[in-house]
Symmetry: C2
Subunit: 344 residues, 2 copies
DNA sequence: CGTTAGCACTCAACGAGACAGAGTGCTAAC
DNA sequence: GTTAGCACTCTGTCTCGTTGAGTGCTAACG
C-alpha cells in the first residue's frame, strides 16, 4: 500500500496545484511546473495508475484530474507541511488579541473574525464549555419584586445569568444570605454536579423555600448544561463566494443553509473538543451536507485543560497546511488570553 | 398630480402582479387577469402614459413593464391594504411568544425567527435600547481578587454585565457597600446620565478610590451607550435565495455582504425607533448598498415608550401589506412580553 | 524495460446563426 | 375613446461547428 516516491511526488504536485487553482490539472502542467525531469507522457502513465488506485478522478474524459477525498487524506497524513505564520502576522494577532478585549463574548467573536481573515474560510469558535468549569460564586441580584437574576461565576470567568422568579415576601437581605450560602456549598463543584442534594443539611431553609430552590437548580442546570448553540460563533460565511466551485448558486445556497443549522455545527465542535487537531475531509464528515467540505478544528486549552474548539470549514480543496498553522497560533493565544481571566 | 382612477387601477394591477411573479408584466396579462372590461391595446396606451409619468419602466423594448420605486411609493402611500393575520396564525404567534422565553436574548432571537418565518424575508430585531431605560440597581459581583462583574439592572430588565478591574485590597464587603451606595445614587436616572458628578458628596470614598470610580463610570458608559450592534439580531438572510431576482450570484453576494456590516443596519434601525412604521423603497435608502432593496420597520413599545425596532429587508418587490401586518402583530406581542418583565 | 514522441480521439466551452415567443407602438377602423 | 391588426424588436433557447486542452494508445528509442 506504500506509494513509490515518484507517484507520491506527482500526487502531491497535483493536489497542490489543484488547491491553488481549482482547475483540473493535466499532465503537461505537472511536467512543466513541478517535475521538469520527466515528459508529459510519463506523467500521464503515472496519473492513470493513480486514478486506478483511487487517488485521482477525471471530471470527464479529456479533462485534467482532480484529487479524491482519499488523496487529500493521504496528503494530510503524510505530506502535510504545517505553515507557521510569519513574524509580523504573529505580532498582528497578538496585538489584536490583547487589545480591547474585556468581555468574553467579544473575545470569542473577535477570535472568529481573525481566523476568517487569516484563512479566508468560514470560521467557527466554540466558547469555553461551561460543563468543564467549576463554580466559584453564585449571586442573586434582585430585579423587581417578583424576579431575580442569578449570576454564576465560574473559574473561567465565564459568567451566565438567568432570570428566575422569586417567592413572595423574600427580601433583599434574604437573597444575599441565600447567595452566600449557595456559594459556600457549590464553590469548587463542577457545574454538572449542581443538584438539590448539595443543599442537604439546610433543612430549615429548604422547608420554607423548597419550591424556589428546585426552580433555581433547574434554571441553572437548563441554561448552562443544555447544548447551548449560542456558544457557537461563526464569521466569514460569505467567504464561500470567493471560491470558483461555489459560483454555482445552488451550491452556495446549500452551503449557507447548512451553516444555518447551528445545532449540528455546535455538536460537531463540542465532540471534537478533546482532540488536539482534527481534520475531516469530504465524505469523512458524518453530516451529509458537509460531504464536499472539509472541516479542520483545534482545541484551545485553559490552564492545561481543553475548554473549547476553534475551526474552519471550507472546500475540500483547502490549504490544510496554512489552516492548521493559523488554528494552532490562534488556539494558543486564545487559551492564554482566557487564562488571564483566571487566578489560582 | 392626481392619477385618474383607471390609471390607478392599472398601476395597482401591474404592481401586484409583479410583486407576485417577479416577471415584467405585459398589457395582455393585465387585460385578461385584472381588467376584463378592457382590451390589451387600451391597457397598452395607459401603460405608455404611466411610463412617461415615471411609474413604470421597460427593462428592454418588447418586454413587459415593471414598477419603479416611485410607483411603489405611490402604492404604499395610497393603495396599500394592510393584511391582518388569520386567527390561527395569530394564535401561533402568541403560543410561540409566551412559551419558553426566559432570557431577553432568547426573546429577541425568537422574534427575529418568527418574523422571517412569517414573511420569508430577512428580519431584523433591535433589542430594547438601553439609553431609553432608567437604572434600577447596580451590583458588583467579585470574580477573583483582581476583577469584578458589574451587573446593571434597568427598568426594562435588560441586564448588561461588564468586567472591571478592582483595586488591590478591596474586599467583598466593601464591594457590597459600594454597590448599595451606587444603587441609591443612580436609581431612577437614565443610563445616559451616568457620570462621576453623581458621586458628589461621597468625598471620602472617592478620594480613596477615585481611579476605580472613573474606571467604573467609563466601563458602564462604554459598554452600554456605545452603538452596540450586538443588540441587532438578524434571521433568514438566506431567504434571499428564494427570489428569482437574486438568482444571480453577484447580486446574492452583494446582498449578503451588505448584511454583514451590522453597524449600518444597527444605526438605521436605531434611527427609526421613534417612527411607528417606516417604509423606505430602493433609492430612498440612504445607504447605496440598499438601493434595490426595501426596508420596512416598526417600533415596539414597552409601557407606552418606544424601546426598539423590528423590521424586514427584501427586494423592492415586497409584499408590503403582509409585512406591515406581520410587523404590527409581532411588535405588539413583543412589547407586551417585555412589559411583563417590568412592574411599576 | 522505462521513457518518450506522435497521433487519433473525446469532450467542454464558446460563439454564430436561426427561431419562437412575448410584448410593444402605431395606424386605421369601429 | 376603444379596439383590431400588423410590423417590429428584443430575449431566450436551441443547434451546430470550431477550438483547445487533455487523454490513451502505439511504436520507437536508449
Amino acid at each position: 500500500m506504500e506509494l513509490p516516491n515518484r507517484k507520491m511526488d506527482i500526487l502531491k504536485a497535483v493536489i497542490e496545484d489543484y488547491i491553488a487553482t481549482a482547475v483540473p490539472v493535466g499532465s503537461r502542467t505537472i511536467a512543466r511546473r513541478y517535475m521538469s525531469g520527466l515528459s508529459a507522457a510519463t506523467i500521464r502513465n503515472e496519473m492513470a495508475d493513480l486514478e486506478e488506485m483511487g487517488y485521482l478522478i477525471q471530471p470527464h474524459t479529456s479533462a485534467g484530474r482532480i484529487p479524491t477525498d482519499k488523496a487529500y487524506r493521504l496528503y494530510v497524513d503524510r505530506l502535510l507541511e504545517i505553515k507557521p505564520l510569519g513574524e509580523e502576522q504573529n505580532n498582528a494577532v497578538r496585538e489584536h488579541f490583547f487589545r480591547h478585549m474585556d468581555e468574553m463574548e467579544q473575545v470569542i467573536r473577535k477570535t472568529a473574525q481573525i481566523i476568517s481573515d487569516l484563512t479566508q474560510y468560514t470560521s467557527l469558535v466554540l466558547a469555553p464549555q461551561m460543563r468543564r468549569t467549576t463554580l466559584r460564586r453564585i449571586q442573586l441580584v434582585p430585579i423587581n419584586r417578583e424576579m431575580a437574576l442569578v449570576v454564576i461565576v465560574t473559574d473561567a470567568t465565564v459568567v451566565k445569568d438567568v432570570v428566575i422568579r422569586i417567592p413572595e415576601g423574600m427580601d433583599n437581605d434574604r437573597l444575599d444570605t441565600i447567595s452566600r450560602m449557595m456559594t459556600v456549598r457549590f464553590a469548587g463543584h463542577s457545574i454538572a454536579d449542581v443538584d438539590i442534594s448539595l443543599m442537604e443539611g439546610l433543612e430549615r431553609d429548604i422547608q420554607q423555600y423548597r419550591r424556589f430552590f428546585t426552580d433555581l437548580m433547574n434554571a441553572m442546570g437548563d441554561s448552562i448544561l443544555q447544548p447551548d448553540w449560542q456558544d457557537l460563533v461563526m464569521e466569514g460565511a460569505i467567504n464561500i463566494f470567493n471560491f470558483p466551485e461555489y459560483q454555482d448558486i445552488k451550491r452556495a445556497r446549500s452551503f449557507l443553509t447548512m451553516l444555518e443549522t447551528r445545532e449540528k455545527l455546535y455538536q460537531m465542535l463540542a465532540r471534537r473538543t478533546k482532540l488536539e487537531t482534527a481534520i475531516t475531509i469530504g465524505d469523512e464528515n458524518e453530516d451529509s451536507d458537509l460531504k464536499d467540505c472539509s472541516v479542520v478544528t483545534a482545541t484551545y486549552r485553559v490552564t492545561g485543560r481543553p475548554m473549547g474548539s476553534i475551526g474552519v470549514i471550507g472546500p475540500t480543496r483547502m490549504e490544510y497546511g496554512h489552516v492548521v498553522g493559523v488554528l494552532d497560533l490562534i488556539g494558543r493565544n486564545l487559551g492564554e488570553l482566557i487564562s488571564l481571566y483566571i487566578d489560582e
